[in-house]
């Protein structure tokens, strides 16, 4: 499995993503510069990592969404290639039109970093096949603008087509209320593209790959990708 991690000015979790990929695939991902126009040949997965691309001084992800490399990322997605956008990467995917909707300021207006339970909403995708159906996983969140919003028809379509990847929930799997850290519509933590080859999510599974550091519930996502790409 060959992965490329895109490096935008202001990305800061590229190393964390690379570490999780290395652990799951045994291979160091390529680091691709935002100003490049092409991805290296033979890439299976493109990762847009977390961070504050361009300082997030405009809307989060708005400038990165228009970086030269994004045309290549779009072509890769259109060919059915895998794209994973984590946190700022999710925001970039929404800003570049690869995924629908927007990520607004957290409802309480504070940045929030904590451990958070998620419910795996759909198992049969390239990103989640290693999880059990509706498994509850514990991962990290760290964002100030993770409040997912879209117009009603978009939300209805996402729900109807089973394109909600993860929902915020409590340790028992119950969504809603205080278990939603940011006010996100329908407790959405991550969504898929129509073909399920693009996943955008706010939480950081790449930080939950080690029993000494909070647990290993994030590994499943990277192992699923590795298994899919080599299958």
């Amino acid at each position: 499995m060959r992965a490329a991690v895109i490096l935008f000015p202001g990305s800061n979790r590229e190393g964390d993503a690379a570490r999780a990929l290395r652990q799951a695939t045994g291979r160091q991902p390529d680091i691709v510069w935002h100003a490049d126009h092409d991805l290296p040949a033979g890439i299976d997965l493109v990762v847009l990592p977390g961070g504050f691309s361009y300082g997030d001084y405009l809307r989060c992800g708005a400038i990165a969404g228009r970086a030269p490399i994004m045309d290549a990322v779009r072509r890769h997605a259109n060919r059915g290639g895998l794209v994973l956008g984590i946190c700022n990467g999710f925001q970039i995917l929404c800003e570049s039109g690869v995924l629908p909707g927007v990520l607004m300021r957290n409802a309480n207006m504070h940045f929030v970093c904590r451990m958070q339970h998620l419910r795996v909403e759909r198992r049969a995708t390239p990103f989640t096949s290693s999880y059990k159906p509706h498994q509850i996983i514990k991962v990290a969140i760290a964002h100030g603008e993770g409040n997912y919003e879209a117009d009603d028809p978009t939300i209805e379509a996402l729900e109807k087509d089973g394109r909600i990847a993860f929902r915020y929930c409590d340790s028992e799997g119950v969504a809603g209320g205080a278990s939603n850290p940011n006010g996100s519509r329908n407790d959405i933590a991550g969504i898929y593209s129509e073909r399920f080859n693009v996943l955008g999510l706010m939480p950081h599974p790449e930080n939950l790959i080690d029993p000494l550091v909070g647990g290993t519930d994030g590994r499943g996502l990277f192992e699923s990708i590795a298994g899919f790409a080599t299958a």
Binding site: G10, H110, C113, A142, N207, I209, G214
Partner: protein
């Protein structure tokens, strides 16, 4: 071409220079200074940059050990942590700016300290802080807490370094002068450390990073004067932080350092270009010539004076190998940063500044730093306070009520509301997150890690500066020990009032004596730090607050020990002697409304003996949980261990003495340790053999904390008291413990 204003006594005073200091300048250069030169002197000779009131006392601190590679005097301290790796760290204050503009003041405080660390070639791997706010009932406190916390998070989160620990407290003495001390910790290879010392004649001096604007002019001067009611009018001297540029600057600098182009590097912090250029030249015994026309400016028409004093952020100065200039420029252009050759090194030992072809300053470079005034200010020893007799100090409320109130009080309550706004998980190496004794951050893929903490109890320091200074160091040492770390070195941030007042100066001298004594006794040298004086508003000084940032090494992070009970049925042991010391305790202050008496004495030999014993238990994996006892004493520590796990405990027997003093006294050198029930006797025997006082208190388990003679309290109730206080206060409420501070 603008002409510079004539030098008048008013102008000299406005630069914070005393008449005799001005005479010293005239004597040194043999003529009246130009306006630009006056600005340069004011920047170099203010308290913040020259340490003129503190230098003679700082010399008494221990700063060396076999593992210390660089002590105070560089951008940050450097210690050897083995395997060819070094830890580079420092703490610095941004108190005055944060009071005026809390978000940007705190943000640029973080930015400045990160720069100090990566200037030396280190990649930052953790940040900590120590914050002190005014009384919760003061009208500005909520606003300042919200702004400072958002600012620290806003900068560190974007830059991409985990903020893993800190200390947040409140006291009315900080009403008009809060404390924002930020600490950064970085990692480098032992053979890849970079210094500020310039070398070689005719080498290019290169300006890197963001453009220069008019922001922050005289920031260092502001930090060297006490606050008056016009503080708000000083807003324009607060700089604006840009963590995005800093992140680019970090990556560009580290890439450039790898290229071998860098001879010397110095960040532009307080007093900006002036201080950084003079320091590089003076350290290298070289002159420096600058052509200010080449400086990348953000605003038009900037004068030499403004450029020399600007404190615009995210800027660096380097001396480069001439042959690598082009390669260096390409790296900076790639990262979208400014790069300009603005001068050269010379053999004249003069600091020469040109603007529009005219010489605006021509000063002897060594004397700018070396000849700064040095004061031995009069200081008054703080009178000793009497010991509080616990028998003569009966408890006004029941012990269970006192415990709940202490858990919900501003200094002790959970600071989750604060640290959840900091990204403490980025980089994926946070082994022990905020909320424990010390944070533990793994180094790369391990097995080694760093144990990090910031500590001080200013109430102790005010009551007895020497004991308080000792206690601050001992507390940091103990926190590192509790997680299983070997304490190695300290960065200090000495926050005090006006040094021109003998009482304040006496607090400074006393605290330093205590800090020095403890650092010597514990082999815990000071390798970097910062002095912040003039923390007073309208004549009222802050509590003396020598913040201690401690760094230790955990040899294998798998053995690092947390503070929460691990499982039911384990034995709970108390290590250390309990006398029931109530003087200056949180209990006496909160429950009785009395900040009185002598603070607990610190016996450094006992501290070391008890700590070494506890550390050996952790390293040998015989302790399952460890928590040091500090504010709120045994009662609060037991409750915190229960809250952290959700598990209760049954305490069968307490040490002798009045129960309230035993539960809430703050005797030093104590720890709570849990272990497998069947290994408790062996541990107690071993403790007895080592001369370490230790006793069995009870057993973990159940859903409540059961203290002898008290009503059981559900852990969920303890947790509610502990966790809801600060969020409720920040939402505009007045929780019980926050009402009468």
């Amino acid at each position: 071409m603008q002409t510079e204003p004539a030098i008048t006594s008013e102008l000299v005073a406005a630069h914070g220079l005393k008449p005799d200091e001005y005479e010293r300048i005239v004597g040194l250069i043999g003529r009246a200074p130009t306006f630009t030169e006056l600005g340069i002197f004011s920047a170099m000779w203010n308290e913040h940059c020259s340490y003129k009131s503190s230098r003679i006392h700082l010399r008494k601190l221990p700063t060396s050990a076999p593992w210390v590679i660089q002590g105070p005097g560089e951008n940050a301290g450097v210690i050897d942590i083995g395997d060819g790796q070094v830890c580079i760290f420092k703490m610095e204050s941004h108190n005055h700016p944060s009071f005026i503009e809390p978000y940007q003041g705190a943000a640029t405080g973080v930015g400045g300290i990160l720069r100090d660390v990566f200037t030396m070639g280190a990649r930052p791997i953790a940040c900590l802080n120590l914050l002190r706010f005014g009384s919760p009932t003061h009208s500005k406190t909520r606003h300042l807490v919200a702004g400072v916390v958002a600012g620290i998070g806003g900068y560190g989160n974007s830059f991409g370094v985990p903020t893993v620990g800190g200390s947040t407290g409140f006291h009315r003495a900080y009403d008009g002068n809060i404390l924002v001390n930020a600490m950064a910790v970085g990692l480098a290879r032992r053979d890849e450390i970079f210094y500020a010392k310039a070398s070689g004649i005719g080498n290019p001096i290169v300006y890197l990073g963001s453009k220069t604007g008019r922001d922050g002019i005289h920031g260092a001067t502001m930090a060297s004067a006490s606050f008056e009611a016009d503080a708000e009018e000083k807003r324009p001297t607060v700089q604006v932080g840009d963590p995005f540029s800093e992140k680019l600057l970090l990556e560009a600098c580290l890439e450039l350092m790898k290229s071998g182009a860098v001879i010397a590097i110095q960040d532009m912090g307080a007093a900006g270009l002036t201080s950084s250029a003079v320091e590089m030249g003076a350290k290298g015994n070289l002159g420096i010539e600058l052509d200010l026309d080449r400086i990348p400016c953000r605003e038009i028409g900037m004068t030499a004076y403004e450029m020399m004093l600007s404190e615009s952020q995210e800027r660096m100065l380097m001396v480069l190998t001439p042959a690598k200039e082009k390669e260096a420029e390409a790296i900076f252009r790639k990262w979208g940063l400014d790069f300009a050759v603005i001068g050269k090194t010379t053999d004249t030992l003069r600091f020469v500044v040109r603007r529009h072809g005219e010489i605006m300053a021509d000063l002897p470079i060594k004397e700018l730093g070396d000849e700064a005034p040095l004061y031995d200010r009069p200081h008054l020893t703080t009178p000793k306070r009497p010991k509080i007799d616990p028998v003569a100090t009966p408890a006004p409320v029941s012990n269970d009520e006192a415990l709940l109130r202490l858990l919900g009080s501003p200094d002790i309550c959970s600071k989750r509301w604060v640290w959840e706004q900091y990204d403490h998980l980025i980089l994926g190496n946070t082994i022990i997150a905020p909320g424990g004794d010390a944070a533990v951050v793994r180094i790369e893929d391990g097995p080694k890690g760093l144990a990090l903490t910031t500590d001080v109890n200013a109430r102790y320091c005010a009551a007895d500066p020497v004991e308080g200074g000792k206690q601050a160091v001992a507390e940091a040492w103990r926190n590192i020990t509790a997680v299983g770390g070997r304490p190695l070195a300290v960065t200090d941030n000495l926050n005090f009032g006006n040094p021109e007042r003998p009482e304040s100066m006496g607090q400074f001298v006393g605290c330093l004596e205590g800090v020095g004594e403890a650092c010597r006794a514990l082999d815990f040298p000071i390798v970097s730090g910062n002095v912040s004086l003039y923390n007073e508003t309208q004549g009222a000084g802050i509590l003396p607050t020598p913040a201690i940032g401690g760094v230790g090494v955990v040899d294998d992070v798998k053995t690092a020990c947390g503070a929460g009970f691990r499982m039911a049925g384990e034995a709970i042991l108390l290590i250390g002697e309990t006398e029931g010391w109530l003087g200056q305790s949180a209990w006496l202050a909160l429950i009785c409304g009395r900040e009185e008496g002598a603070p607990p004495p610190v016996n450094l030999a006992v501290e070391r003996r008890n700590g070494d014993f506890v550390r050996s238990l952790v390293v040998d994996r015989r302790a399952s949980a460890v928590h040091d006892l500090s504010e709120g004493g045994l009662g609060v520590a037991l409750a915190e261990m229960a809250i952290a796990s959700g598990l209760g405990a049954e305490i069968a027997a307490l040490p002798e003495g009045p129960a309230h003093a035993v539960l809430f006294g703050e005797d030093q050198a104590r720890y709570l340790v849990t272990c497998a029930a069947d290994s408790a006797d062996a541990i107690l025997k071993q403790a007895a053999d080592a001369g370490v006082p230790a006793r069995r208190l009870g057993m973990t388990g159940g859903d409540s904390l059961r203290l002898p003679g008290e009503q059981p309290i559900l852990v969920s109730i303890l947790r509610t008291a502990y966790e809801t206080a600060l969020p409720s206060y920040m939402a505009g409420g007045t929780p019980d413990g926050f009402a009468n501070q």
